[in-house]
């Protein structure tokens, strides 16, 4: 049985346990409950969860040594709890942020007022891999380009929740958020009975409604398809899962064809059937071999043209990734002030732009205290965590940053918050982040909670499942004011 007063929370902010072994607001009942069951019992529940995950076929795909391996999804059964009042603020902050980002993207592809007004430099477009000049002048419905956003949040040792990243291209993980809840309900049924945990399973409906709102043929029942790069993609499980939950077709690029009328059709056994909205999980460059990567087999020729003419909606819209760039990230507080005339509700992590000579000098000098990231990579690849790096790694990164400063940003190393996690026979603190999902079309929706990812190795800050990370169910608990 765990004795919470011996659980070490000293250096970092723990999401469940305040210093001195006292439960945080919202977590009291969970903490008491876990403290009341034997470690044997807890272990057998973890085993039951592991079995359920295999039974339910919840997997993710790792590409290694030329082979694709489906691995069981790693879930630690102790949930992460966030008090409902705090969540209310986060929820508003997320909507504020995505609203501003959508205004930004729309501006970039029209008059670029924000650049003319000198709030962000024009060079920002040169360094962004995902800026698509082909999108200039296009008007997607509601002026919204990023319909589905996965925002990565981290809590620092000071207890403040920071935005780490806005994923506006093809963010994944939401299916695991839903499955984590399904499994946790099986493991702790007695807790859900008496505990006001906000349900998460409204997401597929909210996603469907968001997508349906984008149809260019209002009134009709819109035909929606999920476009996947296919079985070898690491998120294929999710593509198939979401298509099933929404009751829409899961298609590959070869299942679609663009007709002479510039409309998109699905190849059915009855013949061709018009598609109104495509939730595409294929990257911009592979969407349309006629416009982007000529060798792409994942896309459909003519798709971009059909979208530009407004005959099909693509979610997210091509080019939305312009705002999912670590250099643009550093301007988001300014972007929010510029378009909304509001103060940002959620703070950014202080960010040094290596393109700026002063910042560059600072980064080169203090690199061993910083996290250095390439401006345009995801999945935690190609980044340097200064305090954990060897001398030669630091030297190597100094050279890389000097050679291509525009492609790098740096941030102070955050002391990510922790959550009690089952480690063998013990419960120990492990670092976590949080990815809530935000939907936006004619209205906005935020998942109550999101996907909590946990670095399972002691002291590690790397939460990516492809690199040994696990996950937790996330509970929004309590009354809102």
């Amino acid at each position: 049985m765990i004795e919470w007063n011996k659980y070490g929370t000293d250096k970092f902010y723990d999401e469940l346990i305040a210093p001195g072994g006292v439960a945080r607001p919202g977590a009291a009942e969970l903490v008491r409950y876990i403290g009341s069951i034997s470690s044997q019992n807890l272990k057998s529940r973890q085993a039951a969860a592991d079995r359920a995950i295999i039974e339910m076929g919840i997997t993710f795909t790792v590409y290694s040594e030329g082979e694709n391996i489906d691995r069981a999804w790693p879930l630690d059964i102790i949930p992460r709890v966030i008090d409902a009042r705090e969540w209310q603020t986060i929820d508003r902050g997320l909507v504020q942020r995505l609203t501003a980002l959508n205004l930004f993207i729309n501006d970039i592809y029209h008059d670029q007022k924000i650049i003319k007004d000198g709030v962000v430099p024009g060079s920002i477009l040169l360094s962004s891999k995902d800026y698509l000049p082909q999108c200039m002048g296009i008007d997607p419905p509601f002026g919204v380009w990023a319909h589905i956003c996965g925002t990565d949040l981290v809590r620092n040792s000071d207890g403040t929740m920071y935005v780490l990243e806005d994923n506006l291209r093809v963010p994944s993980g939401v299916s695991y958020m839903l499955e984590n809840r399904a499994v946790t309900k099986r493991v702790f049924p007695e807790l859900f009975g008496q505990y006001p945990v906000r349900p998460v399973d409204g997401y597929p409906h909210a996603l469907f409604d968001t997508l349906a709102a984008l149809s260019s043929r209002p009134g009709d029942e819109p035909e929606i398809a999920v476009l996947t790069p296919g079985i070898y993609n690491s998120a294929y499980f999710e593509h198939s899962f979401l298509a099933q939950r929404m009751g829409t077709e899961l298609v590959g690029g070869g299942d679609l064809v663009v007709g002479d009328d510039d409309c998109v059709y699905m190849k059915n056994i009855e013949g061709l059937q018009r598609v109104d909205v495509i939730y595409r999980r294929v990257s911009d460059v592979f969407l349309d071999p006629a416009v982007f990567d000529k060798s792409s087999l994942l896309g459909t020729p003519g798709l971009f043209r059909a979208w530009a003419k407004g005959n099909v909606a693509l979610a997210n819209a091509p080019g939305a990734g312009v705002a999912d760039d670590k250099v643009v990230y550093s301007y988001v507080p300014a972007i929010i002030r510029y378009y909304l005339d509001e103060e940002p509700i959620l703070p950014n992590v202080p960010t040094y732009r290596c393109s700026d000579p002063e910042d560059l000098a600072y980064v080169l000098e203090f690199i061993e205290t910083l996290v250095v990231k390439p401006a345009n990579e995801s999945g935690g690849y190609g980044m340097l965590v200064g305090p954990f790096a060897s001398k030669s790694e630091l030297a190597d990164f100094r050279n890389r940053v000097k050679a291509d400063p525009r492609n790098y940003i740096a941030q102070p190393t955050l002391g990510l918050s922790t959550v009690p996690t089952i480690c063998g026979a013990n419960i120990e603190p492990r670092h976590v982040d949080l990815r809530p999902f935000v939907l936006q079309a004619d209205s906005s929706y935020v998942t109550p909670g999101g996907l909590t990812r946990v670095a399972l190795r002691k002291g590690s800050l790397v939460v990516n499942s492809s690199q040994g990370g696990g996950s937790k169910d996330t509970w929004i608990v309590g009354e809102t004011s």
Binding site: G230, D255, K267, N268, E270, G271
Partner: protein, 310 residues
């Protein structure tokens, strides 16, 4: 239903049926071999001819012939007609069909694939051969049972039935084709008493022996066997029965006119075979024609329901 999904269901089912057929034929031949004189090793070549990969085997064969023939037809991934290759193809088609297939069927195909990977190599030796090959047959039948018993008999199921029936009819004509060559082969010329053994073997290759005995109730003769496996509408592996299944499935699918049209020609062709009492000298030519007809149905299915994919 998406054409790509329909096409994968069709191919999944064809490959599963081919896997089952290959396993059964191998078992039958292995059993037959024990009854034939030593120099009858030629029959392994006959067996490989039914698979359609005789030319490739000529390159591959080594001594002893039996071992290399069995290996070629079971675990050899270089041979596209081997059990391992066809089950690989079945699984590859199935991977993206998760949301369309009953969970049990999905798992059963996976288990079959794993079992093949693990055990097929053992079939080279005579002692384990029977049990390994029987397991493949049984698992395939279990999968067919799961499709029939747990899947909605909607459009998806019709594509499974189409694939299975076409593959079955095709295999029946191949077995006849090869068997009809036997009277000219060395074995029968020197030992005519083996002929009856060979025709029993045809029945066994099609799991038809018991059915034949029950419904024909007279001495086994080549003509009666041929009639039975071609025309007996009640026997599930007869060409007539398979064509009937294809018709029923096609009728439940949209835009079926072209397929039904081709099917009519095939049925007419089958009818005309029986009229000529299956004269021995025409048999091979007739079977070639039937295979050609079945190929036409396959093309019509593809053109009608999968056309947009090409």
């Amino acid at each position: 239903m998406l054409s790509s999904v329909a096409s994968r269901l069709y191919w999944l089912s064809r490959y599963l049926e081919r896997t089952e057929n290959t396993a059964r034929i191998l078992n039958t031949y292995a059993n037959l071999l024990l009854d034939l004189p030593k120099e009858a090793e030629m029959s392994w070549l006959q067996m490989i001819r039914t698979s359609g990969y005789a030319v490739e085997f000529e390159q591959y064969r080594q001594w002893p012939l039996e071992r290399s023939a069995i290996k070629f037809m079971t675990s050899e991934r270089e041979n596209p007609g081997s059990i391992q290759s066809t089950i690989d193809c079945a699984r590859e088609n199935m991977r993206t069909l998760r949301e369309y297939l009953p969970k049990e069927a999905f798992e059963a195909v996976n288990e079959l694939h794993i079992a093949c990977d693990k055990k097929l190599a053992r079939a080279v030796g005579r002692r384990a051969r029977y049990s390994v090959l029987s397991e493949v047959v049984e698992r395939c039948q279990q999968i067919n049972g799961l499709f029939a018993g747990t899947m909605n008999h909607g459009e998806g199921y019709q594509f499974i039935r189409l694939g299975r029936s076409l593959e079955r009819a095709d295999m029946t004509t191949r077995i006849i084709d090869v068997a009809s060559d036997l009277p000219h082969s060395d074995v029968s010329a020197r030992a005519p008493e083996y002929e009856i053994t060979l025709w029993v073997n045809v029945l066994r290759s099609l799991s038809a022996y018991q059915s034949y005995r029950q419904s024909v109730r007279s001495r086994i003769t080549p003509v009666r066997v041929l009639h039975f496996v071609l025309n007996n509408i009640e026997f599930p592996r007869s060409v007539a029965h398979c064509l009937n299944e294809i018709r029923t499935s096609a009728q439940l699918l949209p835009k079926n006119e072209a397929v039904l049209e081709v099917l009519k020609t095939t049925e007419r062709q089958l009818g005309s075979l029986s009229v000529r009492a299956l004269a021995r000298e025409h048999l091979q030519r007739d079977m070639d024609k039937m295979q050609n007809e079945l190929g036409q149905i396959h093309n019509a299915v593809g053109k009608t329901w999968f056309a947009e994919l090409q």
